[in-house]
Symmetry: C3
Subunit: 362 residues, 3 copies
């Protein structure tokens, strides 16, 4: 985007990815250029370098970028500008899209495969991932209280695996912990999870590997699991929603929905709409997500509605946690939205990692 | 435990350690084998390696285990299984047990010694610890609002020390900060703390060193300090309770009550009981503790009752903080219970560190 | 301070720095000695060493100080004592003082310059900083709901910059994000921010760089921004207040208001007063701030009043967040007040970093 673009913010649908990234980009944003790619690559490398040293330490991050201190202000600005102009930068693959199911005798049947894939988390940047149905995060599973669901998990990985439905109250045998509640799903095997969705279990949850999890989850075996309330009036109303999976692992380093800026997706709403954001942290660090422009009202934690919602402009999401927050889109414009551990979001060469924008269209 | 064991979960009392670990293990769990020990050792070493590199970075953790990537799925599974089968693995020493007191003229008199010890935090794994009364964590001090207590602290360490009663409202001279509220307790000296337990100070608190504390606390000079309410009806009722001291220091790396999985203690309740969990973080990192199977209702923070308790499946406990949570044991079975910073709980060779289970017996 | 001093705690005004540090020190504290300086230097170096290794890892911190393990208890105690006796140690420069404004046609006009400076964060310890008006943190901007303000920012740095008013609801063009809401402020340029302070935006906020922010903010381009309520009765009453900016960056390592212990400022109140503490985290790590002696009641988060305030003795402040807490000064004496990530506050050679005291005078 250019500074001028903010006067005519682009209109994007939630599932922009389904429309194809080229058309999404054509809707108003400037496509990435060679320079933009180079910039992002440099930023991504810097982010990785920072992570392998010491993740929370500003001193180290600054020191590690000492070599760029001789950039002129104009050179630095040009790299920052190129990164932002390339946003949203096209990459192959988009995770977190709704998973189709088949209704069999009243049971919603979902199918997941676990595969090794090469995942493009930023333009031209690929990582060796483990993915559900080929995407990171895995497709979003969305059901309703009272449903009975069946999830067939086929393991095409070189390792065994298992799926834990994090946040859901399930029978013990369906809990997904090898050698405690089930045998591991060996390579080539398919395991069937089946359980009812309990009343009272509405909200934002997750599914992810619970076997060799430090490696498997950070490599991409994770996804959002949303339970709709049987009676929608039991939860605060909203007009549009956005699920944001936070990660800081092997795939994409610091990422939002499996992508690093400028390959992240912008969020777009109309002035006056109520936006529900579902934050899920599948990583290993805290991420205080800061939305510019207007506050967020936290209405639920780990899916459970709060008796007293509270307002924040920065919502800290810890590993394993989910926060649901409502944004009243009262302020028109394009607003930065990023992790406030600054080394997760910006380096000397520009923004990277856990950065996106909220566009409020008039 | 084997997968079959989950159908007939073991019955264990809260103070299982007092009964001797052999009998506890005999109650239903398979004792550790040579293979189990080897597995744990490898995991512990991996955990330590991860800590000395960079604690929150999944990338690093994964990278540091790269050498094991050539394991077959079966080999990996065998190591995971051996670790779980060996749980709860016997080790020498059990901290956190109730500290006896002597009643002298209406004053409850407790005695603590500070000693260098070799602490077995996992089977066959020993660390040079500093311990209160020879155990890590130190024995649990338990008093009631309105009591007057005296704590005699004898320092047998090569360093001076002092005790801070974290969370208790005490006279300034009893606050335990050398050169601000008292002289340090020199090696060989005994210092006497004496103060009343104030009304309104009920809840879960801590005691620990406040001298050279980064070293002394991480080496083990820490313990839980529980204040019972004078009127039990002022706090939510519960049937059983469990104090869980979190640590990530020199002793045992990532540990629960001074032990690393599989040497941690399982928690056992009967279906329908209300379990109170007291989380205390004596470490230097956040630990979001995730209980599988059923939510936790947080009723108090730092000992202070919340006007509006809230439900979580993952309770983040930060350094210095205490959270009290009630679990309604509604779901039978053996449920994993672990830190959701995954690198604190599992590696390629199996679970380690901050992992235990909640067993809900029918 | 000596142990005896706690019986006659010093009286200090909030803006003690305005009076000059020499007089403040003369009011009751013992001035630093040569030995005290040496002690602090050693501590500061140790803190820095710890940060560049791995910030949250006790193991590393302890290991890195292994070379001092041969100190005798007396030698160690002497270093601890010297550090505390030197508190509050004089240094040049004091940030966070009120920024004067000029009233022009009903608009409050503030002026900020961005300059490279050498900042003395601890006695004899200097860092190459970027500073607003020459101080770290920058001067405190204090306005009232309903005001219209103008902030002229002149950039004397070798890099471009921009100012984000974190927590304030502003027009998009005033949001301070280069290439999204404005062009960067090039070296030598002045940019003018102007916006109304909205009703409902009272509370503790921040301003800081939003360009190359990981470097610029950690180097010192940050400050507090307090919005007073138009109607003071809308917020809980207090007698005295103290703004505490937390940081863990290039400037001073672990610091409170730009200074490391023993160069931090003590907070002084009278018995019975209500103290409002505004915690602001401008760093990249969590800091659970532990006040000894009496609890804090958290009344607002990110400026927004809580419907249900809650009590804590340890308030965790995450990056980008602000917490407002009331302390009822019911307990006389000098109380330690520090980050409970112990490696941010104490090493084998004594206290350093994020440590100060609350003095409750009878």
């Amino acid at each position: 985007m250019t500074p001028e673009d903010i006067q005519k913010p682009v209109s994007r649908r939630r599932f922009a990815g389904l429309l194809g990234l080229a058309s999404a980009s054509a809707a108003g944003a400037v496509l990435t250029t060679g320079a933009g790619r180079a910039s992002l690559s440099a930023n991504a490398e810097e982010a990785m370098a920072g992570m392998s040293d010491s993740d929370h330490t500003a001193t180290t991050s600054t020191a590690s970028t000492g070599g760029t201190a001789e950039m002129t202000a104009d050179e630095m600005d040009a790299m920052h500008e190129a990164g932002i102009k390339s946003f949203p930068a096209p990459t192959s693959g988009l995770g977190g899209q709704p998973l189709e199911y088949e209704l069999v005798d009243g049971v919603k049947v979902f199918k997941l495969t676990c595969d090794p894939v090469s995942w493009e988390y930023a333009p031209g940047q690929f990582a060796d991932a483990f993915a559900y149905n080929g995407v990171v995060p895995g497709p979003e599973i969305r059901v309703t209280e009272g449903d009975t669901i069946r999830v067939l998990v086929t393991n095409n990985l070189p390792q065994s695996t298992a799926v834990h439905f994090h946040g859901l109250v399930v029978p013990n045998a369906m809990d997904g912990v090898p050698f405690i509640t089930q045998p591991p799903i060996k390579p080539g095997e398919t395991f069937t999870y089946e359980f009812p969705i309990r009343d009272g279990n509405a909200g934002s949850h997750m599914y992810h590997s619970h076997h060799n999890s430090t490696e498997q989850v950070t490599k991409g075996l994770l996804g959002s699991f949303v339970v709709e309330p049987k009676d929608p009036s039991t939860r605060p109303p909203f007009d549009v929603e956005y699920t944001m999976v936070l990660n800081d692992g092997a795939i994409g380093g610091y990422s939002l929905n499996g992508k690093s800026f400028p390959a992240t997706q912008p969020i777009s709403v109309k002035l006056g709409q109520r936006l529900l954001i579902r934050f899920l942290n599948e990583g290993q660090m805290i991420h205080p997500m800061h939305l510019h422009g207007m506050p967020m009202t936290v209405i639920a934690e780990d899916g459970y509605l709060l008796e007293r919602p509270y307002k924040r402009d920065t919502v800290m999401v810890e590993p394993g946690a989910r926060y649901e927050a409502i944004v009243e889109a009262t302020e028109p414009g394009t607003w930065a939205f990023h992790c406030h551990v600054l080394s997760h979001a910006e380096g000397q060469k520009g923004m990277f990692g856990m950065v996106t924008v909220l566009i409020v269209n008039e």
